[in-house]
């Protein structure tokens, strides 16, 4: 009875949850690898048009009132990008008049209520001080009067912790106007102690810095060690915060702020989020690609976050660039000054290596050419194709005040977890059919040419094995282990094999799925990495002589994998899906017109970032070369053509994260390179 109720209750709960929780219908970056992106999305709401795009940033600064205005959209962002950091914008040094005019239930209004007149900075005549229109300077020093034992440096952190952080919607706080020097902006007629006399500028600034430093200490104490504190306007407090924003970079010079950025990063507490904001000075010119690259390149040199928008009156932008999609990974060395170009102030050609590429910045006043430490691939961009033409280079000419991001040359090593023919020429496409990398020869030196090879961590212990299928035999080579060779279909079969690997049961190890290619019967067999047969079945009619091409993946996102077979030449382009024990799963379908008899190739992987694997199918021998992407129901999701000339040997498909961005690309072979 109890079990009956439990089972039924759980099922009901799961159904209800599926309706209550919004489903993530878009995929975001979800990674903190470079380039690291920050968005100063300072507005009173998150626009409908920006809901999806904003999730692509790593750190987003939102006005604190968003927690009251649009909490569900904040949750959506986090659902779409679980790794996103949301920082509440609060001014540490000023209070906008508009805050007091807001809804009495809003955080802004509450903030205005904790700031009595005594917390404001005054001139000797008692007037408040203003630099930014509509906002007045607060007295962050310890010289002003205390109210109930508190000053601004005490009240603000308390407010942030109590009012903002307690909601659980924020990962930290962004403190604007954390000046180190207020006389520069507000003049010298400042009376911080309220005695009716202006204090000397030096003492005013010293008191300000001391007070602001105390404010930041109080903020850390209130927020705890795990929340992020970022400040604007000064790098003086770098050691007390996780990051400093360098706004308007490099409008007032490059070398000095760059050095300061590097210095701040060295001092920042972890996680380090110091950032550059480059902007178009309040002119709506998102296509200033040179400026964008210059700022981005500089941020990459420093391994900092990067923000690009219209300016301090137009921060709320979701401009996206080709360079943002270049997944560079982590830096593998420091930024290096190569040589001067034009100016002699330390500006010039700079370079920094990353795991999957390199960034080159020319901060000088003249173009310069730089020799690269190897062959690199320019980005394949659509926004500025002259600069990003996808070409291979060993040296690079960079215009003045510009930068380039280059990717490491693609090779067979990046094709993992999916089989390919060793030595064939391949091209890399995204699910939309856009070629994303220069074509290359997928040649592994540790496997024989012409063999079907597959690199994967079979044991689940972080050691990559190489599975080689050739002439009826499967060989598993693992460093430090004995090489295993077995004949899936007996020693008498010396024909072609198709292979796939995946975890077909609940242990840590992956299994090897093997099909007979262009042979009869179209058996599919599953083996352990030691060559022990675990399951077998026949995919198509016993008399069918085309064999079965195999793939494995989790098609419905339930954590259990399914095996996909595609018919070889002679049959229609038929796809079938199986459980890992050989029982049919779901329906079958024709990937192309039934009359096409050249067979199909199959691969399984998440190519659209929706969290479920798709079935990728390549057309067969003699057909126009096409690739189609299906879901597990056989519904066509994407397709693209590779030309009109029939491919005599058909198109082979495999899926791999070539870009290193966590999403699989479609690697297409069978193309004649020459």
């Amino acid at each position: 009875m109890m079990r009956h109720w439990l089972t039924n209750g759980t099922a009901v709960l799961m159904v209800l949850t599926a309706f209550v929780m919004p489903t993530a219908t878009f995929a975001a970056r979800g990674t903190q690898d470079a380039p690291k992106l920050l968005n100063l999305y300072l507005g009173w709401n998150i626009f409908d048009t920006d809901r999806t795009a904003l999730a692509n940033w790593d750190v987003v600064v939102l006005d604190m009132d968003l927690q009251w205005q649009a909490p569900e959209r904040m949750r959506e962002l986090r659902l779409a990008n679980p790794g996103i950091k949301l920082l509440a914008y609060v001014s540490a040094g000023e209070l906008a008049d508009a805050r007091a005019l807001g809804d009495p239930t809003s955080p802004s209004f509450h903030l205005s209520q904790i700031a009595p007149e005594e917390f404001f900075m005054h001139q000797p005549d008692g007037r408040r001080m203003q630099w930014w229109p509509g906002a007045h300077l607060m007295n962050a020093t310890d010289l002003g009067p205390a109210m109930s034992g508190q000053r601004w440096a005490d009240a603000l952190p308390e407010f942030v912790a109590r009012e903002l952080m307690s909601t659980g919607l924020w990962d930290g706080v962004f403190l604007d106007a954390a000046y180190s020097d207020i006389t520069h902006f507000f003049g010298t007629n400042i009376d911080p102690d309220g005695n009716g006399t202006a204090n000397p500028a030096a003492s005013v600034n010293a008191a300000w810095r001391s007070g602001m430093s105390r404010l930041l200490r109080n903020m850390r104490a209130a927020l705890g060690p795990n929340r992020i504190i970022m400040n604007n306007s000064s790098a003086s407090y770098a050691s007390q915060v996780n990051g400093v924003l360098f706004e308007n970079f490099p409008r007032y010079g490059w070398i000095a702020p760059f050095r300061e950025l590097q210095d701040s990063l060295a001092k920042n507490a972890s996680p380090k989020v110091s950032a550059i904001n480059t902007n178009t000075n309040n002119v709506e010119t998102p296509s200033d690609y040179r400026l964008m690259r210059y700022g981005l390149g500089s941020a990459l040199l420093a391994d900092a976050y990067y923000s690009f928008d219209a300016g301090d009156r137009g921060h709320q932008r979701t401009w996206w660039y080709d360079e943002y999609d270049a997944s560079l990974g982590r830096p593998t060395g420091p930024a290096r000054f190569v040589r001067a170009s034009g100016r002699s102030d330390g500006s010039g050609l700079w370079m920094r290596n990353y795991q999957r590429g390199i960034v080159v910045v020319n901060s000088g006043s003249a173009a310069g050419t730089i020799a690269l430490p190897g062959t690199y691939e320019k980005l394949r961009g659509v926004q500025d194709p002259r600069s990003n033409d996808g070409g291979l280079v060993r040296s690079l000419a960079v215009p003045a005040e510009d930068a380039r991001i280059l990717l490491g040359e693609a090779n067979a090593v990046v094709i993992r977890q999916s089989a390919f023919r060793n030595g064939e020429f391949v091209r890399v496409y995204d699910a939309e059919g856009r070629q994303v990398r220069n074509g290359f020869f997928a040649q592994r030196d540790d496997g024989p040419a012409g063999a079907t090879v597959l690199a994967a961590d079979l044991a689940g212990r972080g050691v990559e094995s190489l599975v080689i299928a050739q002439k009826g035999a499967v060989t598993v080579k693992t460093p430090g282990e004995r090489t295993v060779t077995f004949w899936p279909f007996g020693r008498s079969y010396a024909g072609s094999l198709t292979i796939a690997v995946g975890n077909a049961n609940r242990d840590a190890a992956s299994e090897i799925i093997v099909g007979r290619d262009k042979a009869r019967p179209s058996d599919v067999r599953m083996f352990s990495r030691a060559g022990t047969e675990l399951a077998r079945w026949t995919a198509y009619h016993p008399q069918f002589s085309g064999g079965a091409r195999v793939g494995i993946g989790d098609l419905d996102g339930d954590g259990l994998r399914e095996i996909v077979t595609g018919a070889g030449p002679g049959g229609g382009p038929h796809i079938r899906v199986w459980k890992t024990d050989g029982l049919t799963w779901g329906g079958s379908f024709f990937a192309f017109h039934e009359s096409e008899r050249g067979g199909v190739s199959v691969a399984v992987g998440d190519v659209d970032g929706d969290g479920r694997d798709e079935i990728v199918v390549g057309s067969g021998e003699g057909a126009r070369p096409r690739v189609r992407v299906f879901d597990f129901r056989g519904t066509l999701r994407k397709e693209f053509s590779l030309g009109d000339t029939p491919a005599l040997n058909g198109v082979t498909v495999t899926v791999a994260d070539v870009a290193g961005d966590g999403r699989k690309e479609i690697v297409v072979g069978g193309i004649s390179a020459f």
């Binding site: 062959t375 996808g390 070409g391 291979l392 280079v393 060993r394 040296s395 023919r421 060793n422 030595g423 064939e424 020429f425 091209r427 220069n438 074509g439 290359f440 020869f441 040649q443 024989p448 040419a449 012409g450 063999a451 050739q470 005599l648 040997n649 193309i671 004649s672 390179a673 020459f674």
Partner: protein, 551 residues
């Protein structure tokens, strides 16, 4: 029969009547006793008895009905409808149109007329109009004096000539379970076969060991799926065999396709006359039988000089020495004959002759052999000689190309283009072999690297092999290459070139003449080819072509 003495007077004066009625009285007495025993002790005994009686009556009715339907015929003869069968002379192994015309002859309209065909298992229905059900039936509908009905079939008959083909049918009017039925059958003989196996030319005599070429042809528009040629008799030549074995398993023979089988005649000692018989089968059914009587003759006196070799694209010639004017029958898959057949005859003069075989330009085949059979006419009799088999080698196309860009447009070279003094530019050299019609082994391709060019060590091929570069030469060694169908097999490697000042303003050779050698696996023939050198102008690279002058 049990006689009961009546316990009381029945009122029947005649003893005989009493005797006659005694059994019935015994039965009724028994029944009365049975009734008393079964029903008297129960309440509502009358009702119970009536109920039981009713059940008995129903059972009896059912039994009677079954008996009625079993014994009574369902159908009565269908009258007033006739079926006329129309068919051309029947040819086996080829779809033949059959038409049944059903018409009313009694002036009445006959509703719901159905036709069922009953055909032998060796008659295959290829198509039907109207379509037939699984049991070869079709509902024709109403047949009236004003409206004939037709059932058209295309049938494929697998039987030898002179076989009678029974076309049996059943016409039925009314419901399937009853109605009027008319069954009938009409036979027609098979008069010919579209699938034939006949000598390529008229043969009267054969020298001992001589070979008769037999053309197996499918003259139908449909493919024959499983054709076998069987030698069924060899009187006086027991050791005679087809060259491919006792039976020739031709397999699928496409529409209008022909193959050649070779029957070598080995007479028994002292025998001067032989008779050979063979039959042609499709799907295990005989469609044609053939017999040929032959006299054993002396040698035809023609010697074909061996070995015979032929390579597509190259000249093919046959040298012979003949004692007298004779003829040569040549079957070569690529021979230009002016007809669908690829066999033809040539005249031979006495003495030495050399015949050039015209080869169809651009033609290819996967056949590995061709055949030559001499014959001579003596006293009006054609005497056939021994067969000589020639080797048909695969074509061996070979090309070399220098590339900076792939055909797909992807950049595969790196570095300045045109090359610049002091900087390094890399290219890919691509060797392509084939397409070939035969497997190759021990394929070696090599070329000298010139002007300081060096191989980087990067190479690519989808065929197992070894790449090496030493002594200023680049070399691919490939143990085996399967025949490549329609696409060449490529072997590519990367080179680097750093021009010196001496190269400035010039187009520089990168790789010298390339040479390829290999052995055709089926024949052992050595194949050789060359390709021109490659320079920085990259003639084969559409995008990089012409950008080879060193700067």
């Amino acid at each position: 029969m049990i006689l009961f003495a009546p316990k009381r007077k029945t009122g029947l004066p005649i003893q005989a009547a009493q005797v006659v009625l005694a059994p019935s009285r015994a039965v009724t007495s028994y029944l009365r006793k049975w009734f008393d025993h079964r029903y008297r002790r129960r309440g509502a005994s009358g009702w119970l008895f009536a109920f039981d009686l009713a059940l008995l009556a129903v059972a009896g009715l059912l039994v009677a009905a079954n008996l009625f339907f079993v014994l009574r015929p369902f159908f009565s003869p269908l009258r007033g409808v006739e079926l006329v069968l129309r068919a051309p002379p029947l040819t086996a192994a080829r779809p033949v149109p059959i038409e049944a015309v059903i018409r009313a002859t009694d002036g009445r309209t006959h509703p719901n007329v159905g036709l069922t065909w009953h055909l032998p298992s060796w008659v295959e229905i290829v198509s039907a109009e109207p379509p037939l059900t699984e049991n070869n039936s079709v509902l024709l509908g109403e047949v009236s004096p004003a409206q004939d009905r037709r059932s058209r079939l295309r049938v494929l008959i697998r039987a030898p000539s002179d076989t009678d083909v029974p076309f049996a049918f059943k016409l039925q009017e009314g419901s399937p379970l009853s109605g009027n039925v008319f069954t009938g059958s009409e036979s027609r003989p098979v008069v010919a076969s579209a699938l034939t196996a006949t000598p390529a030319f008229s043969v009267d005599q054969v020298e001992p060991g001589g070979t008769i070429p037999i053309i197996v042809k499918n003259g139908s528009s449909l493919a024959a799926p499983a054709v076998i040629l069987r030698l069924t008799g060899a009187d006086g030549a027991a050791r005679s065999r087809f060259d491919d074995g006792s039976d020739v398993h031709i397999g699928a023979l496409g529409a209008e396709e022909e193959r050649i089988a070779y029957l070598s005649v080995v007479p028994d000692p002292g025998v001067s006359r032989v008779e050979l018989r063979w039959e042609l089968q499709d799907e295990s059914r005989t469609v044609q039988v053939f017999r040929i009587p032959l006299r054993i003759s002396d040698s035809v006196g023609v010697h074909v000089v061996e070995p015979l070799r032929s390579t597509p694209g190259g000249a093919t010639a046959i040298s012979t020495v003949s004692d007298a004017p004779a003829g040569l029958w040549v079957a070569h898959p690529l021979q230009e004959t002016g007809s669908a057949s690829h066999a033809r005859t040539y005249d031979l003069a006495a003495g030495t002759s050399r015949i050039s075989i015209p080869i169809r330009p651009g033609a290819r085949t996967t056949d590995s052999t061709w055949s030559v059979i001499p014959f001579i006419v003596r006293s009006g009799m054609t005497v056939v000689g021994k067969r000589t088999v020639g080797v048909l080698s695969t074509p061996f196309p070979f090309a070399a190309a220098g590339r900076y860009y792939a055909e797909t447009g992807d950049q595969v070279g790196v570095g300045p283009l045109p090359p610049r003094v002091g900087e390094t530019t890399s290219y890919w050299i691509v060797w392509s072999v084939g397409p070939t019609d035969a497997d190759l082994r021990d394929l070696t391709i090599e070329a000298p690297l010139l002007n300081g060019v060096r191989a980087t060590g990067k190479f690519a091929s989808d065929v197992p092999g070894n790449f090496s570069s030493d002594d200023g030469r680049a070399r691919w060694s490939v143990p085996s290459v399967s025949r490549s169908g329609d696409t060449p097999t490529t072997f590519a490697f990367e080179i680097e070139y750093a021009p010196t000042a001496a190269h400035r303003g010039k187009v520089v050779q990168l790789v010298g003449k390339s040479s390829a050698t290999g052995i055709e696996a089926r024949s052992g023939a050595t194949l050789e080819a060359e390709a021109p050198s490659q320079d920085t102008n990259l003639q084969n690279d559409e995008r990089a072509n012409g950008r080879g002058t060193v700067e």
